[in-house]
């Protein structure tokens, strides 16, 4: 079963941290379909957080189709999460390497690239929960 942790200094809302940790575990294969998530009560006993926060995180994951609630039993993982198929990943990485080489040739250093990347991320994923 997944063990949640909280990073109080991250500035990320607690329910988003919980949802991110489940997604992360799914990507790494640490959680598989059929696995049960801890009950709100269990998470509260460990982290002393608001149970509504846990339920909110689970609702978010449910909305994404990653987990499902079985009445009277708990919340269970429904599907895994991959970062795209391997061939797509390789292609995207190659495109990124090429773009980075161009940026470097244009005189951008690591910080300038990062600032640009953050701005682009913000514009692309605005409103999505991974990027504020």
């Amino acid at each position: 079963m997944i063990e949640f942790q909280l990073d109080n200094s991250s500035g990320v809302a607690t329910y988003l941290q919980l949802a991110q940790q489940v997604r992360h575990a799914l990507r790494l294969g640490l959680l598989r379909p059929g696995d049960q998530l801890p009950t709100a009560r269990e998470v509260v006993a460990k982290l002393a957080i608001n149970p509504n926060t846990v339920l909110k995180a689970y609702r978010e994951l449910e909305r994404e189709g990653l987990v499902g609630a079985r009445p009277g039993q708990g919340t269970f993982v429904q599907r895994t999460l991959a970062g795209g198929d391997p061939a797509t990943q390789v292609r995207l990485r190659r495109d990124l390497d090429r773009w980075l080489a161009t940026a470097r040739k244009a005189g951008l250093d690591a910080e300038a690239v990062e600032a640009l990347y953050r701005a682009a991320m913000r514009d692309t994923f605005l409103g999505s929960e991974d990027v504020a």
Binding site: V44, A48, N50, N52
Partner: protein, 296 residues
């Protein structure tokens, strides 16, 4: 959504000093509500008005659908005052028995189980308990009443970090089981961040902010960028707090939409930054689209 507290224009004056003014609040049921603000901001006054220990000078308030002193409200409300008054000469068992005599429907068994679960000896005199255990007895007494609304005035301010965590855990576990509404005041923003759905910020005797914690966090951002662009930002968004350097300004902004100015770096505001900004600039909450002059 149903409300547990509905206050309109609530105010309380002591002599010539207003401890609380123009307080209009609508607090949702089934939530954990944090009340935060500097010392002397009116937190205790507000809580005492809600539980019926004080009468308002102005305005009206209903709690659980009735006026605070109403028997219907009183029987459904649990309150722990800041000094957690208990009879120090009573044993823990006697204290709980007293709770049973004074409150109809007191769950004596659950209160006793709570004590044994925390290894608090039932035959120990309350005055001999540690600070953390003493607070737990006060909490067991309030929860034994099975109130629909639990009001706690600075419940953890004098506890060590471990006892504080244990106390909040007990409250949160109870919420998980009962769905009770909890309203508590605290200075500890990290605690509020872990435990609250809804935040009320009092400063300078007024409500500066009241809202869902996740909404508040989603709406507020920290910006840094050129001072000369601040006016344009202030025209479109609410600048809560601004720190000016010669060229660079750092802002906490309640955003009305995406920030398009590419010269500003944007990051989410932490709850602590948010609370401190509203505390140090009272009126920002009350005045939408506050205009700011750029220091030159």
């Amino acid at each position: 959504m149903t409300s547990v507290v509905d206050a309109v224009g609530l105010g309380r004056r002591y002599g010539r000093t207003w401890a609380l003014r123009d307080c209009t609040l609508d607090l949702p049921a089934g939530k954990v509500i944090g009340l935060v603000g500097p010392n002397g901001a009116g937190k205790t006054t507000l809580l005492h008005l809600l539980v019926g220990l004080l009468r308002p000078t102005t305005g009206t308030v209903t709690v659980l659908g009735h006026s605070p002193g109403h028997p219907q409200t009183r029987s459904r409300l649990g309150f722990i005052a800041q000094d957690k008054p208990l009879y120090r000469g009573f044993t823990v068992a006697e204290t709980l028995r007293m709770g049973g005599w004074l409150n109809l429907g007191f769950d004596h068994e659950a209160a006793t189980l709570r004590m044994t679960g925390l290894d608090i000896p039932l035959d120990r005199r309350v005055g001999k308990l540690s600070g953390g255990q003493y607070a737990q007895v006060a909490l067991a007494l309030a929860l034994g009443k099975r109130p629909d609304l639990l009001v706690l005035d600075e419940p953890v301010s004098n506890l060590d970090p471990l006892a504080r965590r244990d106390f909040l855990r007990t409250v949160m576990e109870d919420v998980a089981e009962s769905g009770r509404t909890v309203l508590f005041s605290s200075h500890l923003i990290a605690d509020l961040e872990r435990t609250c759905d809804h935040l009320v910020l009092l400063s300078a005797s007024r409500v500066q902010l009241s809202g869902d914690v996740d909404d508040l966090r989603a709406n507020h951002v920290m910006l840094s960028g050129p001072s000369s662009h601040v006016d344009a930002i202030a025209a479109a968004h609410t600048v809560v707090q601004a720190d000016y350097g010669e060229r660079q300004a750092s802002l906490l902004v309640r955003a009305s939409g995406p920030i398009h100015d590419p010269t500003f770096t944007v990051r989410p505001a932490s709850l602590e930054e948010l609370v401190l900004a509203y505390m140090s600039s009272p009126r920002a909450g009350a005045t939408p689209h506050l205009r700011l002059a750029v220091a030159s």
